[in-house]
Amino acid sequence: MASVGTIFRREFAGYFITPVAYVFIVIFLALAAALTFYVGSFFERGRADLLSFFQWHPWLYLFFMPAISMRLWAEERKTGTIELFLTLPVSTTAAVVGKFLAAWIFAGLALALTFPIWLTVNYLGEPDNGVIAASYIGSFLLAGAYLAIGSCLSALTRNQVIAFVLTVTVCFLFNVLGAGALQPVLGDAVPAEFLETLASFSLLSHFNNIVKGVIDLRDLAYYALAIGVWLAAAAITVDLKKAG
């Protein structure tokens, strides 16, 4: 498993070779702040919490995470380096995990750089920092789930744009499962239990649970499972495509 670390380091450093990472982080921070203060009415709410900050994350990540994950495999396939990479003595699992971790830690770094907003709310009032810590964990897990979906879909194609669009679409679907959007569409055609079961697969509803400040084992297990399943699918996709 030493190779996971080696792959992680190469991939992670790769984000910073070009200015893309810096541009990404700056825009991410600017948008997160703009949504919090202008759309989320941070000041008008007059409450010392970060709900107006975290509530946007599922939608913000919808575009930012696919932008991180789209290159993971599609680029290797496009440039042909995948042939070099996968003939090194490394298992497909280690390759998938190493790449995923690099993307996840990079997303974590962008998330961590939002700390001034945490300082602000502590300066202005006395927020429940436990809830904020839980929210940060939830946000990080949500990013991980998006990125796991993104790695799998990136392995499907050699075109990064296709990987991006597919990932946005799939992540959006997993979001709206819990947003009640299906209720009017499916209506009474399906039993309510089915809709509830479907909603339990939603990334959004589990995120909303955590942001309330309650870290339930079920929510953590959900994210662990989501990341695990999508990464397994990514490994299978890489192997199948290779055989093709």
């Binding site: 080696t6 190469r10 070099l84 003939t87 090194l88 003595p89 298992s91």
Partner: protein, 321 residues
């Protein structure tokens, strides 16, 4: 002798298209197998399967006794592979890339530095280590790819067109390097430059349409040429008709080719009927008739001639028909 590279019945089908059809190959230590074939013949596909990148539809391949499908990690540890076109991580520097490859091979610390140092020295890369790979010339990129394949001093090397894009000096160095390292290794190189086979290979395998057509020493392969042991001579045009008739009359001559060779001269080539040497017979004939002959020599038979005949028999027939 233990075959370090073994492929048995290797077959790859893409839907209905058969890219590689039941190829058997065995390469032992000290051997350099030159893999010849026109573009699209299945050379790269075969190499990809042996390298364990592409899963064969049928058949199996093994590196140092480790099946590339069932025991891929161990097989790959014993393999240095230069894929077609030498794909590399373009935004890394050459040095960072080699360090990555060494770490992936489990070579770290002093061992890693020594391995990188040796590979850099062998491929003469020292001056470009700090440069991003994207900014390097094609020749340097190819050498970075080769350095990566040599890092761990593997017993098996599979190099897909290692000299493609190199200038004549670099080609010469690449061949010298392959000759230098071949003693303890099994090396498979693909190429469509036939002189390369003469220069470095101990064996040549010809593949076309996915099928292995020949697998022999380059000299034996060249002997398959109709020109093998043929005798060429140049003489004045006024002797030509008589010479063609007399040469054609020799028992051991299968035929005579005639080509103009200047304003008042023709070049005749007497083909050996049994593939044996006929220079003595032709020489005696020349003396007996007192022809003024310039340039009398035995042809060894050209690989490219054999190659063309094997890989496109129809075109060959049309050309001489």
């Amino acid at each position: 002798m233990l075959a370090l590279v073994a492929a048995e019945g290797l077959t790859k089908r893409f839907d209905a298209h058969v890219a590689v059809d039941r190829v058997d190959l065995h390469v032992g230590a000290g051997e350099v197998l030159g893999f010849l074939g026109p573009n699209g013949a299945g050379k790269s596909t075969t190499m990809k399967m042996i390298a364990g990148f592409l899963a064969p539809t049928e058949g199996r391949a093994a590196i140092c006794g480790h099946d590339v499908t069932d025991d891929p990690i161990r097989a790959r540890r014993n393999l240095g592979y230069l894929p077609e076109g030498a794909p590399l991580y373009g935004d890394m520097t050459a040095g960072a890339f080699l360090a990555f490859a060494a770490a992936m091979r489990g070579l770290s610390g002093r061992q890693g530095r020594a391995a990188i140092g040796l590979a850099v020295e062998r491929t003469d890369l020292a001056e470009v280590l700090a440069q991003p790979i994207d900014t390097l010339s094609k020749g340097f990129k190819r050498r970075v790819g080769l350095a990566q394949a040599l890092l761990h001093d593997p017993p098996v090397l599979i190099l897909d067109e290692p000299t493609d894009g190199l200038d004549p000096n670099q080609k010469h160095e690449m061949r010298a390097l392959i000759r230098e390292i071949r003693l303890s290794k099994a090396i498979v190189i693909s190429t469509h430059i036939l002189e390369e086979v003469d220069a470095v290979c101990t064996r040549a395998a010809v593949i076309a349409g996915g099928r292995l057509l020949a697998d022999a020493a380059p000299a034996d392969l060249a002997a398959l040429s109709p020109l093998h042991n043929a005798v060429s001579l140049t003489l004045g045009a006024r002797f030509a008709d008589a010479a063609v008739a007399s040469l054609g009359g020799l028992d051991r001559v299968a035929g005579v080719r005639r080509e103009p060779a200047g304003p008042d001269a023709v070049s005749l080539t007497a083909l050996s009927g049994d593939g044996g040497p006929i220079l003595a017979d032709v020489g005696m004939l020349v003396q007996a008739h007192g022809w003024e002959v310039g340039d009398l020599r035995t042809e060894t038979g050209a690989l490219d001639d054999v190659f063309r005949r094997m890989t496109q028999p129809d075109a060959e027939a049309a050309g001489h028909g």
